[in-house]
């Protein structure tokens, strides 16, 4: 096994204020996207233009943090130039690494910007070392973000069999499907993460108060109906309540957050290079809270891995900002499956 980088904290930057609070509160890296569908959080009002990207890079670099750029949607057949231009911009802006999913785009980046560091996005759906090593051999990727499907034992197997650094999701909204392999959103709305950088897009969402309760619909399809005392979350397609065999329940996934604080020492031990916080669509207040807690936790686990334990105050702070106010270890913990 090659020596791996120490566990870095990678925080979301949906805009310049979020980037600054992440850097100020201890993020080793921030990741961001441009203001178009070249990234998987192509939401209105979010992301960076050239000027704010430049300011963000300068800010982060001045404080010793790295900036990663997500270009992790799949270039659509007739609009290749947009993605190619985004790679060129990243190199010009001095971005520390681009996070890519599309093999064609990786080929372009490796050939035209050989000094630009490449990370394989979670949207690249690489769930085994054979897949990761493919991207390493052909494009020289230096890090891969693993889909949220493997158990910790399976992650360890990957780490042992690749020279590529491994980054794991640590906290935030939980995709229950293998990233890059979910077309549920386009089935309902015509737009998906792969094709448009969105999932269950806001423009397709309708809320309606009815005698039966508050209803959320996605392109007319009923995703859920809430009673008076129930909290209504953002209507992501896979987190609605549906009927299967006349039983109504969260048939795919409850609205919960992934939270892996308790397995930090295991992650360190197996040589995980970085832990990623989800949530470029969330507020700077969320980014600040989560960055603070994770910085403290990682420092604590590094200082004394044997005696590390999750501080209840950390959990309370994270639960305040978690989706659905519940959290789970997800696939890292086998019974979840």
């Amino acid at each position: 096994m090659s020596p791996k980088a120490a566990l870095e904290l990678v925080c979301p930057a949906g805009n310049l204020p979020a980037l600054k609070v992440a850097v100020d509160h201890g993020a080793d890296c921030v990741y961001m996207g441009f203001k178009d569908n070249t990234n998987a959080r192509a939401f209105p009002g979010l992301n960076f233009d050239q000027a704010s990207a430049r300011e963000g890079v300068n800010y982060a670099h001045a404080k010793g943090a790295k900036v990663l750029l997500a270009l992790n949607t799949f270039p659509q057949s007739d609009k290749w130039e947009r993605w190619q231009g985004a790679v060129d911009s990243a190199a010009e802006l001095g971005i520390d690494a681009v996070i890519l999913a599309d093999p064609g785009l990786m080929g372009y980046a490796a050939k035209n910007h050989p000094k630009l560091r490449l990370h394989l996005s979670v949207q690249g759906s690489a769930t085994n070392y054979e897949a990761i090593n493919f991207y390493h051999e052909h494009f020289g990727i230096q890090r891969a973000v693993i889909p949220r499907v493997l158990s910790l034992a399976q992650v360890e197997q990957v780490v042992k069999n690749t020279p590529v650094e491994i980054e794991l999701f640590g906290f935030g909204g939980l995709c229950v499907m293998v990233e890059g392999r979910c077309a549920l959103s386009s089935y309902a709305t015509g737009e998906s993460p792969n094709t448009c950088g969105v999932c269950s897009p806001a423009k397709a969402v309708r809320w309606e108060q009815t005698p039966k309760g508050l209803e959320s619909r996605l392109n007319g399809i009923l995703l859920d109906r809430y009673g008076k005392d129930e909290n209504a979350g953002y209507p992501t397609l896979c987190k609605g309540r549906f009927e299967v065999n006349d039983e109504t329940y969260y048939a795919i996934e409850e609205p919960t957050s992934l939270n892996t604080l308790e397995v930090l020492p295991e992650m360190l031990e197996m040589g995980i290079a970085a832990v990623k916080i989800e949530g470029r669509q969330r507020s700077p207040a969320y980014v600040e809270q989560v960055t603070k807690v994770w910085r403290a936790a990682i420092d604590s686990a590094k200082r004394a891995p044997q005696s590390y334990s999750v501080n209840p105050a950390w959990m309370a702070q994270l639960n305040n900002v978690a989706e659905g106010q519940q959290n789970t270890l997800g696939a890292y913990h086998r019974p979840w499956k």
Binding site: Q154, V176, C182, E247
Partner: protein, 304 residues
């Protein structure tokens, strides 16, 4: 255009599977994809069984392709993968970049399956250089997007389109069928075997929406491009894929064949198929719309 039968995406009894392929051997399908593409826990047929079936179907004149798992997680999944990619006899459909890695390293030609995200000409070109001889369009791709791919398609590359069946939309680490029965995945008791076409998921107002097939989520509606044969020809599609469903798959194959050969109008074929389909048709993706929508003959049905 050639007709292909995709891999069985559901989990059927062993005997059912063998008799299914007996019927397929006699059906007018040109290419048969074989193997378990969805869940590594399913084992009614072992790799040796699939290879035996492959020999039988090849003897019946079919082009046989072995499909690999879309979601490869464990060392034992990789071991199975190596057996398939190294079979030395039949072409392999790669459904994951790990499979592409093995096949391209061994310099053997392959099919880039529907779960390889081939969304642009640059990626298709790369796959061609790696040894792909055919690619299967992602199900969510539209005709318009496909036409851009076809304009610069590498020489010798065949294009296959998923044309019939419940759409494979998503994969997860979680088994949704086991979840429905409150069973852990590691002790799933293979309940997916009780649902030969998947387990239909409806909205709270009773609209069939999705289908749970173990770790895979499918459309409840049946994607059917029978009304688009002319537009597929005009887009230079080489192969149409029919995805096996529990009933009448051989009849669906025959209707597609007759429509392709001009023995039957597309409309007549569609009307006959309507009686054989266990859920609503959809064709939205081909038209660049939400996949769940249906265009072909929709207005005629409204009028009827």
């Amino acid at each position: 255009m050639k007709l292909a039968l995709g891999p069985i995406l559901y989990y059927w009894e062993r005997d059912t599977t063998f008799s299914f392929y007996d019927a397929i051997a006699a059906s007018p399908v040109d290419i048969v994809y074989l193997g378990e593409a969805v869940c590594s826990r399913r084992h009614n047929l072992r790799t040796e069984d699939w290879l035996e079936l492959a020999d039988k179907l090849a003897a019946a004149g079919k082009e046989v392709v072995l499909s690999t798992l879309a979601l490869i997680e464990s060392e034992s999944d990789l071991k199975t993968l190596r057996r398939i990619t190294g079979n030395g006899k039949f072409m392999v459909e790669a459904n994951d970049m790990g499979a592409v890695h093995q096949l391209s390293s061994a310099k053997v030609p392959f099919v880039a399956g529907p779960h390889i995200n081939t969304y642009n000409p640059q990626t298709l070109e790369l796959l061609a250089e790696l040894g792909a001889r055919r690619w299967v369009m992602p199900v969510e791709m539209s005709r318009e997007a496909l036409s851009h791919m076809q304009a610069t398609r590498p020489v010798g590359m065949e294009t296959e389109v998923f044309a019939y069946g419940r759409l494979p939309l998503a994969f997860s680490a979680r088994c949704f069928t086991a979840r429905h029965f409150n069973l852990p995945k590691d002790d799933c008791q293979f309940r997916c075997m009780d649902f030969a076409n998947g387990l239909t998921l409806k909205t709270r107002e009773g609209q069939p929406f999705l289908a749970l097939n173990g770790i895979q989520t499918m459309s409840a509606s049946i994607y059917n491009l029978i009304g688009e044969l002319d537009s597929m020809r005009a887009t230079d599609v080489d192969v149409l894929r029919i995805s096996p469903q529990a009933f009448h798959t051989d009849k669906i194959v025959k209707l597609y064949r007759d429509a392709l050969d001009g023995q039957l109008t597309a409309q007549a074929a569609a009307q006959q198929m309507a009686k054989l389909m266990f859920d609503q048709p959809c064709d939205g993706y081909w038209h660049g719309k939400p996949g769940i929508e249906q265009s072909y003959l929709a207005s005629a049905e409204d009028a009827a």
